[in-house]
Amino acid sequence: MLLINCPYCGERPELEFVHGGQAHIARPGDPAECSDQQWAEYLYRRDNIKGLHGERWRHTHGCGRFFNALRDTTSDVFLATYKVGEQPPTQAQLKGVKA
């Protein structure tokens, strides 16, 4: 069971959270402008990364907020968690965090 650092509440066990899939996939502003192909990509295509992965979590049994996280899928180490609307930390900011 992972230990997840909610940006609003702090470290809590994974069973308080729900995973929300890949992060930073915005719903197209005008879906009517999308081709079928583009819409299918938005709906169904996701990365399957071995390594650093941006993902969404929701602190369902806590504050109820969605937030984003950078997790190494090989080690399960979280390099960062950050609020919706914020940019993921840069490589420089991540330096020194053990993956």
Partner: protein, 1001 residues
């Protein structure tokens, strides 16, 4: 029977406290402090089990959790039978009842041993090769026979009457293992202020030291004082939790460790109020693994006879339990350290011959052995053993200068064989932490390297074998762990100790004459895998150790190959001409030793298995004799039988009552979400398919929610309570996921909207009053609301009072009749229900359940999301296109609905079905085909989603999803059932009152 093999003094048993026990019904006696294994050995009992596949006689091999052979069932009563316990870990108590396993009719005479004679015909992969054809015979012939002939203990026949507990804990430093390294690490971390949990699987602290005649003496400077002070200090320190009889069985991500604490298995009469076990989930800032090492057996022919044991185990039985496992012993070894066992045995009065496969043995221990008069045969191998139920002799052969078995042979009579091929560090938990292992050629072992977790190893589990060095290593590890846990450390931290070779020779099998692979030279005792099986697998082309493992089953038994993995690897590597690290190691998985299901279940059994949700009206329904059904976690009244009615009769009566008079239904389980804010209408427009802008305050609308892939996700009536306030209802099962979906869009996509969402499912009791007389019943009770059809038409909403209680009243109908849904605060739900029921009695009011609700709505063709839809149904498929707001530029799911596949004429569409035989009720889920009596395979063109007997119509009705269904009106299709193909006619899904005149009344 006397314990004739007990030494006169020494050990950690209490000689003044005899303990009686039985083994296979035979009455025996041991001492307080014994394990079952040590007590059996004290009674001269070596034969304790039969092997898994060949039913070969087997004895105690080890003195610890790695034991592969001595698996027993411990029985307290018919419900309390625990199979597959290791006798080496079972603590003796007065009256203990132990049974051997996998033998019939008795341990000494086992008919299954015929498998042993057939052994040449049961090689690796035998099952795969032999039982391939006919395939169907697996089910009725091969598998039951194989399962009967092989296998381990039996499960108890009754439910487990014991209780189990769970606990969460946090600490700065968790130390696993209380041997010299673990004790030192715990002491060292605690001295620096850390909150420490120290756990060990044994009943006493000390680990490997417990097997020493003088435990403190091996610890170096002031060892005896240090040991006593350390244990006393840890037990007295309030910041240290010491858990004995506690196995760290699993290492989970982010330093979560599972501990299994055995609380009562060692007691003669456990207090029934006490849990039997407690499972801990410990979240540790830092972990120190001090898990020790496991001695490796040697592989030679007949190495599995009772009386053949690991050298260190024999020494433990002697020093810790005062048991001489035999009087005429032979030690077979490939390293110096094992000589200690020979020396201790000799000093206790046994004769010992040493057979050393190495060319020479010149270490200090070897010289001591020679000086004390022990015969030492170097450059010698073992080529066989004899003795049916206990080893009687071994045959040895001299090795030539090339290490070939070509010299003279000799027989040595004996009653005990000790063997030792060195030590394998216990890296199980480290490996479970996803730690990488590095091969050490010098130690001939895999040692812990890097791990993503906050973990370090100390002592023998990282190759620091001697007790004194392990103590130093533990002290260093404990201090570093405290520092890394964030404690201020102002004491000088010692360096980790270097790993040491124990003089170990290569793992694997001993040389045999002619270089031939030996017969019955066992590698994996528990799964009966020999070196020959491994060589066969390599010859047959298996290259990966993971494949060899699965083909031969080596390392796959309940002991997970604790004694066998490295030997198997060495044998396969040599055959493949590769190095051991090139062949690689199989994955270590939790649990380290088997864990009971009870401890995982913990408190979550019986009534606590799942929460139960009931409505405020639940008890009233129960008193009326309602039969309930589970809907998610909810208990819902399914029907209200009167005077022993069948469900069929009750439902028919309830339906009739609603259609002709009035019925009362508890709809409180409906999900409810209050959507509030200045952008509430925009939010609803973006989310639901419907148009909401023109919905007036005081009106309701049937809302449909799609996912962005265009498929129906949920539905429900939505009322506009104010300009900026919607009362949204969801399906009973969908409430939580709909709210989660709303939150998702609101928090992450539409952060521009000012909207608040509140779950109100539990705040409102919902009472559905349905039927032509509903208005008359309600009129007497309601204040501030005009119930007339003109003032409150179908889909009207009003706020007011009922019986003086504030109410939201919706004129809605899921039955097709004139109907109202009365929402009142949950605390008043029962009172209002009872008032309506009383007021309705002159009108024949009838409470009805979910079954009647289902029939009534099916008669009207109303879908239930999740029953008539399955996540691949669009609004058009379900005939609900009318609900979609045509003017809206976008809503969730709109774009997906425009993809060509979504309006293919071949899509499955909702239709009604009428059976040719009116009283035949179709099975829900049944497939639908075009033609009768075609030979399979036939392509189904749809399936039945809802099917009932309609008392109102006097016949059965069904809803179905059928390919191009709306173009098939009037067509005859078939539902193939065993025995006959049922003819059905495709109709509209609305069977009753298609014009809707009743519900607009």
């Amino acid at each position: 029977m006397s314990q004739g093999l007990r030494t006169v003094s020494g050990g950690r048993i209490n000689r003044a406290r005899p303990v009686r026990f039985t083994f296979d019904g035979r009455e025996l006696s041991g001492l307080e402090g014994d394990t079952l294994a040590s007590a059996l050995l004290a009674n001269g009992v070596h034969l304790v089990g039969r092997s898994f596949k060949y039913h070969r006689p087997r004895g105690v091999l080890t003195a610890g959790p790695e034991e592969p052979n001595a698996l027993v069932a411990i029985r307290r009563d018919a419900a309390r039978v625990t199979p597959n316990l290791r006798a080496t870990e079972v603590e003796l108590y007065e009256g203990l009842e132990a049974h051997s396993q996998n033998r019939w009719p008795s341990l000494g005479f086992d008919t299954g041993a015929i498998n042993n004679l057939l052994a040449p015909f049961i090689p690796a992969g035998f099952y795969y090769k032999t039982f391939m054809w006919p395939r169907r015979a697996w089910q009725w012939l091969y598998e039951p026979r194989i399962r009967a002939a092989t296998g381990l203990g039996l499960a108890p026949e009754h439910p487990d009457p014991d209780s189990y507990s769970n606990r969460f804990a946090h600490c700065d430093v968790l130390v696993v293992g209380a041997g010299p390294a673990g004790l030192a690490a715990a002491q060292s971390a605690a001295a620096r202020g850390a909150r420490v949990i120290l756990c060990d699987e044994q009943p006493e602290l000390g680990g490997s030291l417990l097997g020493e005649a003088d435990p403190g003496a091996s610890l170096g400077e002031n060892g005896r004082d240090w040991l006593a002070d350390t244990i006393r200090g840890l037990l007295a320190n309030p910041r240290v939790t010491v858990l004995t009889r506690t196995t760290a069985f699993g290492y989970f991500p982010h330093n979560l460790i599972g501990l299994e604490q055995r609380l009562s298995d060692h007691l003669a009469q456990p207090d029934c109020r006490q849990p039997r076990e407690r499972q801990w989930q410990v979240r540790a800032r830092q972990v120190v693994l001090a898990t020790g090492a496991i001695e490796r057996p040697l592989v030679f022919p007949g190495n599995d006879r009772p009386g053949v044991m690991l050298a260190g185990a024999v020494r433990t039985y002697l020093n810790r339990y005062g048991v001489l496992a035999g009087r005429r012993a032979v030690l077979i070894t490939t390293h110096d350290e094992a000589y200690r066992s020979a020396l201790d045995l000799k000093r206790a009065g046994a004769t010992v011959t040493i057979v050393d496969a190495r060319n020479g043995a010149s270490g200090e221990l070897a010289e001591t052995a020679r000086r004390e008069g022990l015969a030492v045969h170097t450059a010698t191998t073992v080529i066989g053993t004899r003795g049916r139920l206990r080893v009687r002799s071994i045959r040895i052969q001299r090795l030539d200068a090339h290490g070939q078995a070509r010299g003279a042979t000799e027989r040595i009579d004996c009653d005990l064989v000790l063997m030792s091929g060195g030590y394998t560090p216990s890296v199980h938990l480290f490996s479970q932490s996803r730690g990488k292992l590095a091969w050490s050629e010098g130690l001939h072992a895999f040692l812990p390297a890097e791990s993503p977790e906050k973990v370090r190893c100390a002592g023998a589990c990282r190759g620091v074998f001697s007790a004194a060095a392990a103590r130093g290593d533990g002290e260093s590890a404990g201090a570093r762990a405290a520092r890394d846990a964030g404690l201020t450390v102002d004491i000088v931290i010692g360096e980790p100790q270097p790993a040491q070779s124990s003089g170990t020779a290569a793992a694997g099998d001993l040389p045999q004459p002619g270089g031939a692979p030996p017969a019955k030279a066992f590698v994996d005792w528990q799964n009966d895998v020999t070196s020959r099986d491994l060589l066969l697998a390599a010859r047959e082309g298996f290259r990966s150790i993971e494949h060899v493992k699965r083909y031969t089953t080596t390392g796959m038994a309940t002991d997970q190959g604790k004694t066998s993995n490295l030997n198997a690897l060495a044998i396969v590597a040599r055959q493949l001409g590769k190095s051991i690290p090139e062949v690689g190691l199989t994955t270590f998985r939790m649990p380290y030793t088997p864990v009971t299901f009870g401890s995982f279940a913990g408190y979550t059994r019986g009534e606590l298995f799942d929460p139960i949700r009931t409505t405020p009206i639940h008890d009233w329904a129960a008193r009326q004799g309602a039969v309930f059904e589970d809907v998610g976690l909810w208990k819902r009244a399914r029907y209200f039988p009167r005077n022993g009615e069948s469900m069929h009769a009750a439902v028919a009566r309830e339906c009739q009552a609603v259609r002709s008079g009035c019925g009362l239904f508890d709809a409180s389980t409906l999900g409810k979400i209050e959507v509030v804010g200045k952008d509430a209408v925009t939010f609803m427009n973006r989310l639901y398919v419907n148009g909401w802008t023109n919905l007036a305050v005081g009106r309701c609308r049937y809302g449909i929610l799609l996912r962005d892939d265009g498929f129906i996700y949920d539905d429900g009536v939505v009322a506009r309570i104010a300009e900026d306030r919607f009362h949204v209802t969801t399906t009973t099962g969908g409430a939580a996921r709909v709210l989660a979906m709303m939150e998702d869009y609101l928090q992450t996509e539409w952060t521009d909207l000012s909207v608040w969402l509140t779950s109100t499912s539990e705040q409102w009791s919902v009472i559905a009053l349905q039927g032509p007389r509903a208005r008359q019943v309600l009129e007497a009770l309601v204040q501030e609301v005009d119930l007339s059809a003109a003032a409150l038409p179908h889909m009207g909403a009003a706020t007011g009072r009922i019986c003086g209680i504030p109410m939201r009243l919706f004129r809605v109908s899921f039955t097709g009749e004139l109907g109202f849904e009365i929402n009142v605060p949950a605390d008043h739900g029962l009172a209002v229900w009872e008032a309506i029921h009383a007021a309705g009695e002159p009108h024949g009011i009838t409470p009805y359940g979910t079954e009647t609700m289902h029939v009534l709505r099916a008669e009207k063709g109303f879908v239930i999301v999740g029953q008539d839809t399955d996540g691949t149904v669009t609004p058009d498929d379900a005939g609900l296109t009318w609900a979609i707001g045509k003017q809206k530029p976008d809503f969730v799911g709109k774009r997906a609905l425009e993809r060509p596949a979504m309006h293919s004429p071949e899509r499955k569409q909702l239709v009604g079905l009428l059976t040719a035989q009116p009283h035949v009720v179709l099975e829900e889920g049944a497939q639908i085909v075009l033609d009768a009596r075609t030979t399979p395979p036939t392509r189904p063109i749809g399936h039945v989603t809802s099917s009932y007997y309609s008392a109102t119509l006097g016949r059965s009705i069904a809803l179905a999803l059928v390919r191009a269904g709306r173009s098939r009106m009037g067509q005859t299709l078939y539902v193939p059932m065993p025995g006959e193909d049922l003819a059905v006619q495709v109709t509209s899904p609305v069977f009753y009152d298609p014009k809707g005149s009743r519900l607009n009344a």
